[in-house]
């Protein structure tokens, strides 16, 4: 795959993107919080050095908090179904950190497991993911544990990095990405040689929390469905669900019909396994009736069940759940309770 040098600056590159009539989504401060938002002009863009990561992940652009599945209208005594449309404009999601970019390769698996979710994949296909290597980290980051690094381009179509001369360049990861760059010839220039690695990335990698051995973690989980540790680990949990709502890989939803007199819609709304109503049966029985069972589900799903089925961890180490937890439940610390660190040279 090719690499491209950004000719002028990063903002001009974004300007180029906007001129191609893409819907550009990138980290932006809105109402005081940093989140992925629509970029209207290039001046709004933050360069990869200007942020660690956003509060919420990019999943809402592929799997929105609320998504109509089917619409229906009542006309007299008849009911008419109407299909739901998805935004027509092609999108570029720009500036994702490796932990977010990697989430797509994870989510893609689940959204086509047994049944292909057309809403998710239509959006996926229409969207080009441009990742950006991390130029800083914080205490919550633990992407190395999940096999990522500040400069991993997994899941991205294009990836922005700095070479050792502190110049940004684009790494084409997929053909889709390469095709996009080719349309931006005024802004980029193909590099003949593989650029030299910037030492910054290795330095950050070392600052990040030490890598946990997830293979050992899974072994422990395989054998400890029943363990009193679950009670202890979850005792302070308030079932607020912030962890799931902010997680780039959590993908549970609830299906609800909203019906007015003349019309209605069936919606998918985000849901979270930490809520006690999540598994409540209409009979009144709740198989996960305690916080311990629910928290176990969260950890098991992330580090065991998903791995059993897809050979992947349902976690990218982005650290959002750690930052957001109001009672400081730290999933890294939790996993460390039952798995050793990987020896590093």
């Amino acid at each position: 795959m090719k690499n491209f040098k950004i000719k002028n600056d990063y903002k001009n590159f974004v300007k180029g993107l906007l001129s191609l009539n893409y819907l550009v989504i990138a980290p932006k401060y809105e109402n005081g919080i940093l989140k992925f938002s629509k970029i209207k002009n290039a001046a709004e863009i933050l360069s990869p050095s200007e942020y660690i990561n956003t509060v919420s992940s990019t999943k809402e652009y592929f799997f929105p908090q609320t998504e109509p599945v089917i619409k229906f209208t009542f006309e007299g005594k008849e009911i008419f179904l109407k299909d739901v449309e998805i935004g027509k404009k092609p999108k570029v999601v720009l500036g994702l950190r490796p932990c977010d970019a990697a989430s797509f390769s994870i989510l893609d698996d689940i959204f086509q497991y047994e049944y292909k979710d057309e809403f998710y994949f239509t959006r996926r296909e229409k969207t080009i993911i441009i990742g950006a290597a991390c130029e800083s980290n914080d205490e919550s980051c633990f992407c190395t544990t999940t096999g990522l690094a500040p400069d991993s381009s997994q899941g991205a179509d294009l990836f922005i990095e700095k070479n050792n001369e502190e110049e940004y360049f684009l790494r084409a990861v997929t053909e889709k990405g390469e095709r996009l760059v080719e349309q931006l010839i005024a802004e980029v220039e193909e590099l003949e040689e593989e650029p030299k690695k910037n030492p910054l990335y290795e330095k950050i990698e070392k600052q990040i929390r030490k890598k946990i051995d997830l293979i050992e973690a899974k072994k422990w989980l395989d054998n400890n469905f029943e363990n009193e540790k679950w009670e202890e680990l979850s005792s302070q949990c308030l079932s607020c669900g912030s962890c799931a709502y902010l997680c780039p890989t959590c993908h549970c939803f609830d299906i609800v019909d909203e019906v007015n007199y003349n019309s209605g819609v069936r919606r998918k709304n985000w849901d979270a396994c930490q809520f006690d109503l999540f598994t409540l049966h209409s009979s009144g029985h709740n198989p996960r009736d305690t916080k311990a069972k629910r928290y176990r589900q969260r950890v098991m799903h992330k580090f065991k069940y998903y791995a059993d089925r897809f050979d992947k961890t349902l976690c990218t180490g982005c650290g959002r759940c750690i930052r957001a937890c109001p009672v400081n439940i730290d999933i890294y610390e939790v996993v460390k309770e039952f798995a050793p660190l990987v020896e590093q040279n």
Partner: protein
Amino acid sequence: MSRIGVFVCYCGENIGRTVNCSEVTQRAAKLRDVVYSVDYKYMCSDPGQQIIKDAIKKYNLNGIVVASCSPLMHEKTFRHAVVEAGLNPFLCELANIREHCSWVHDDKRNATDKALDLIRMMVEKVKKNLPLDTIKIPVTRRALVIGGGVAGIQAALDIADGGKEVVMVEKSPSIGGHMAQLSETFPTLDCSQCILTPKMVDVNSHKNIKLYTYSEIENVKGYIGNFEITIRKKTRYVDDSICNGCGICIEKCPQKKINSEFNTNLGTRKAIYVPFPQAVPNIPVIDKENCTYFKNGKCKVCEKFCDRNAIKFEQTDEFIKENVGAIVVATGFDLYSIEKERSDNYQGYGEYGYGKDPDIINSLQFERLLSASGPTLGEVTRPSDGKIPETVVFIQCVGSRDKSKGIEFCSKICCMYTAKHTMLYKHKVHNGKAFVFYMDIRAAGKNYDEFVRRAIEEDEAIYLRGRVSRIYREKDKLIVKGADTLIGKQVEIAADLVVLATAMLPQKDTVPFAQKLGIGYDKYHFLSEAHPKLKPIETNTAGIFLAGACQAPKDIPEAVAQASAAASKVLGLCSNDQLEREPYVAYVNESSCIGCEFCLQSCTYSAIENKSIVNSKGELVKKVAYVNKGVCQGCGTCVSICRSKSIDLAGYTDEQIYSEINSMFV
């Protein structure tokens, strides 16, 4: 699956004139879940109801919407019809397209569209209606009668004769009310006391009547069939269980010059007194304010002379609880006074000197002057100097029908008693001249107009159609200036006595009293009937009935008739030991109730209690609210207070209201 039938009523022309009923019917047929829709001229008529009954069977309907008049009018009618067709009555709702639509709108297009909206809302509501069972409540088969005037007496006697116990509460020391004060009654001129006293005695001696005089209602709790009444028996300072009414105490009492209320302040009484000689019960009362002992700490003459030791200066108010199933309110009336300083919203009569002249009296005072047992022993003399008045001017409608004074209604009985007054006056003062200023003569009633004609034609009362603009004193005479509108001239009469037929008002403290009972009152504070035509006896609170002038001005026969009607209502209620009630009560969702007790705190009727939920081991799981269905009145305040919506109101559930809101604007 809902199968709703819509039945659109023309109400003759009442609805059909403004609402295009056939269009509404056709459009209603197209509404979701409506399987049958039809219109008819009078849906409430027998054939109309038959249409509903037939349709229920033929189309297997499970929800009925009758688009007709107000549910307050005919909901019962249609629900009854629905029952006859085998459907639960609470699966029938009324869309009010008459009172709330056809009668209040002119534009046919708007009214028709609105009617359809109202029907749609009801269709959506009725889909969420649940079949409800009526609630059965035990009935305490005895009654309370409040007020011992002629209406109260009649009601009490009728109920007691019907075999049910009656508790009668009268606030003054004797029963008898205003009728006991009257001289003779129209149109027969028979003696008021002669016809009333036997009834009073009957009340006192009836085995089914428990009489509390000089007592007031302190508190009313409970609901139809199950009222708990607290009666405050005020202190007489005379033990009514010992006193035999010999009257020696009264005779010996040194305090003589106290205005007699019974004699409308025209006579005097002692500090220990019975209001009038025929009082029932014949037990004296000590007037604490005027009693020498209470004022100065010395005297006790009455105690000394009472050989039965019935005088009890240490007595205090007694509180007695009585349980009854029904209440008759017969608190009667009061007269409007023309004075300036007043506690109500009405204006006084400055033009008549605000009633400060002793020779300007009201008609009740004149009754006392005429009464053989009155302060003058039936001699008509004027209060100022005891002279026999040779010219008396009677003025009707003082206060009544006078918007500027704040009273718009007609007091109804004044035309008749004024005519009576002129006659009785003429019979006593043969050379006397009676002038009557009137606005209209309202003498509708059996033998009434004949009576007035007799006053004019035989007893030579001079009737002047017009208002009196001013009364002022010139030496010995009262100059009455007024208009005779029939001859179109101002008239001036030098009178010896002026008698004002002042308006009838409810008793002074009717408002707090009505609030105690939880019944309605109108802007003049007359108590409100549940329906002006069809429920003239009932109040809005089930189990409480009205009799007499507390509801509106009435003459004796009317008051008596209404009292008997109230008695028959009470007897009907007390004829069964349980009563069926509409099941509009709150109920708790125990699975989501968290026991915060907000509903419990806010329930007016204390209908909500705590209930403990225990698991199979008997351990407390949580506490939840529990509604006592017999006590709950179905206001729904608890429903709004409940944050988790764990309490709902049958008949007005969240779902029903939600559905109405959802279909309101389409």
